[in-house]
């Protein structure tokens, strides 16, 4: 008799086949969708990635940040700076923006990790405000009013407009899939085990030899890298940047938090479901303007009070169905061959 350890369940195998089919279908979108569809889908991918990253930070590492717009904006400004001032191709500027955000996240963490819990949250917000105010002092990048990517930089990506749009679309899909896959892989690794141990009981984790500060720091830095790459991509697509847009707390934090909470915090699938719900609501309620945001806030509060596990939590509890299970299962196999 032998035993092996596996993550998969019958349901998750079916789920992952469906997800793969969906990704292939979406990768083919340039052949079946119009220009508006591609823009909308790319925006959806950006939110899936941002929400998944915030979920890693708040839902797994227990670092509730309301200042992730700091890294969205930083990544965006890095891309514009590298492309305009250093002549780097915008495509290469995306990973470079991620790496520099990772380097920046270290000293930032050294400061704000001194604040605990709730105070950490407000500390992250102040850091984002500092970034925004510094960006509006950068006169080479348009100061407070911002600037657009020059035409020669834009045509440097690809000559035809269509080729550019396709390329940016695939990068957005690739980044979103890459971010989700990386998080699943991370949470299934030894490191993920440490993260989940900390989430469940910090004291017990520590007494079992988990270096809490290091694990949290790693989550913070990795999230910063991913968030900055997405930020760079979002503003590459927008072509125009300004401090208020790049460091917007509503766009890059409030929406992201509401998406994650409504979908289900502390689960891989939560941010994906949340993003789908968010965009379905937005497409049908966009005319309401500020009222839409108000309603979204009310829904998020209601979810937090009554079903804190979110929509996906309800599904898992009722049906026991998971697409990306993170728990190890021991499978006993009969050694006798038939």
């Amino acid at each position: 008799m032998t035993a092996r350890v596996s993550f998969a369940t019958a349901g998750s195998r079916i789920g992952q086949v469906l997800v793969t089919v969906a990704v292939v279908f979406l990768a083919a979108a340039p052949w079946w969708g119009g220009r508006d569809d591609l823009r909308l889908l790319a925006e959806i991918y950006a939110y899936v990635a941002l929400a998944s990253l915030w979920n890693l930070l708040a839902g797994y590492a227990g670092l509730v940040s309301v200042g992730q717009q700091a890294y969205v904006g930083f990544g965006a400004y890095m891309l514009f700076g590298l492309a305009i001032l250093a002549g780097v191709s915008p495509i290469w500027a995306i990973p470079l923006a991620g790496l520099s955000a990772g380097a920046l996240a270290l000293p930032v963490a050294a400061l704000i990790f001194r604040l605990r819990g709730h105070y950490f949250a407000i500390g992250t917000w102040i850091v984002a405000e500092v970034f925004r105010l510094l960006a509006s002092q950068l006169s080479v990048l348009g100061g407070g009013s911002g600037l657009s990517l020059p035409a020669n930089v834009v045509t440097g990506i690809a000559n035809s407009r269509q080729a550019r749009e396709f390329l940016i679309y695939w990068i957005a899909l690739g980044l979103a899939v890459g971010v989700v896959a990386a998080i699943v892989w991370l949470l299934r690794s030894r490191y993920g085990l440490a993260l989940k141990a900390i989430r469940d009981n910090e004291l017990a984790a520590q007494s079992n030899g988990v270096d809490i500060a290091r694990v949290k720091l790693a989550a913070y830095v990795l999230t910063a890298i991913g968030t900055a790459m997405i930020g760079a991509l979002i503003f590459l697509q927008k072509i125009r940047i300004s401090p208020d847009a790049a460091f917007s707390v509503n766009d890059w934090t409030a929406f992201v938090i509401f998406i994650t909470v409504i979908g289900g915090i502390g689960r891989i699938e939560g941010p994906i479901i949340g993003t789908i719900v968010f965009f379905l609501l937005r497409q049908s309620l966009a005319d309401l303007g500020t009222l839409y945001l108000l309603m979204l806030g009310a829904v998020a509060i209601a979810v937090m009070l009554w079903t804190p596990k979110g929509l996906w939590g309800l599904i898992v509890d009722r049906l026991g169905f998971e697409v990306f299970p993170l728990e190890r299962r021991v499978i006993i196999e009969d050694g006798v061959k038939a």
């Binding site: 509730v64 400061l111 819990g117 709730h118 105070y119 407000i122 405000e129 500092v130 945001l293 108000l294």
Partner: protein
């Protein structure tokens, strides 16, 4: 020279306002480990409430305090009793996310009702009245009044906290909610009273803010941040510390603004980060017995 002296005096006086933002925040954190992300938006809500009261009743803004303060206190009590008490516990996510949601709701609700146009409370001649102190230094009556209000409020909170039965209940619940409950205190009620008191302070701060400067629905988060910075600079858990923290922040901003108008807010944030780097316990942390 008088130029700089003036800058510092103005900074100190504005610091009183920041100390009021901070006192309400510090109070509820001390008692129930709750940080109200919507704190700044409640300040703005109080300002709009005063606007409605002064416009419909034709009252002087300062007299409107008689209505705005009890109204906000009641709102605070109800909010804590029926919503926020449900979010308290070891997990800090629920309270953070619910107050964050409240912040978004208040901002967008105010914008829906009052538009995004800036508003201001008109207080009449008192707005521009000032006292000459020495040559070239004038102290505005209004900023001075703001500062005096801050000192009185913090002094009163200090008395409530350490000299009254209510304060004893606050301190007991803060130290050990379970034992406090065994001694016959109803924690839900105590927490709700604390939030009521916090929003009463917020109401005073909101009205004074609205008399001095323009306000619109979006300025709440910045007020939360100023209050928070004052709390951390002053030292967690110390009420008088928040006054010092507010003054340090006010002076930093005034000096920054004097150097370059674009640096006003940034100078405050950088001072906060500097204190966090060099003295994370704050300038005047509460001495632990």
């Amino acid at each position: 020279m008088t130029d700089w002296l003036n800058v510092i005096v103005q900074g100190v006086l504005v610091g009183g306002l920041y100390a009021m933002f901070a006192a309400g925040l510090s109070l509820i954190f001390g008692i129930m480990r709750l940080v109200n992300i919507a704190h700044g938006d409640f300040i703005v809500l109080a300002a709009y409430l005063a606007l409605v009261v002064t416009q419909t009743l034709g009252l002087n803004p300062l007299l409107s305090l008689a209505i705005v303060v009890p109204a906000m206190a009641l709102l605070g009590y109800a909010l804590q009793r029926f919503v926020l008490n449900r979010t308290l516990g070891d997990d800090l996510l629920p309270s953070l996310l619910v107050t964050f949601g409240l912040s978004v709701i208040i901002q967008n609700g105010l914008q829906e009702l009052f538009t995004a146009d800036p508003q201001k409370l008109q207080a009449g001649a008192i707005e521009i009245a000032s006292i000459p102190v020495i040559d070239g230094i004038f102290i505005g009556i209004l900023p001075l009044m703001q500062f005096v209000f801050a000192v009185v409020i913090i002094g009163a909170l200090q008395v409530v906290f350490y000299r009254t039965a209510l304060g004893r209940a606050f301190r007991a619940t803060a130290d050990d909610p379970a034992v406090a409950q065994l001694m016959g205190l109803d924690n839900r009620h105590v927490f709700a009273l604390a939030m009521g008191l916090s929003l009463a302070v917020v109401a005073v701060a909101g009205v004074l803010l609205a008399v001095r400067a323009n306000f619109d629905p979006s300025i709440g988060p910045a007020r939360l941040i100023f209050g928070f910075e004052a709390v951390i600079i002053g030292g967690l858990g110390s009420l008088w510390g928040t006054l010092i923290g507010g003054i340090v922040l006010g002076v930093a901003q005034a000096v920054g603004a004097h150097l370059d108008p674009g640096w006003q807010i940034l100078a405050g944030h950088l001072t906060f980060l500097l204190v966090l780097a060099l003295r994370p316990q704050g300038l005047f942390p509460k001495v632990r017995a």
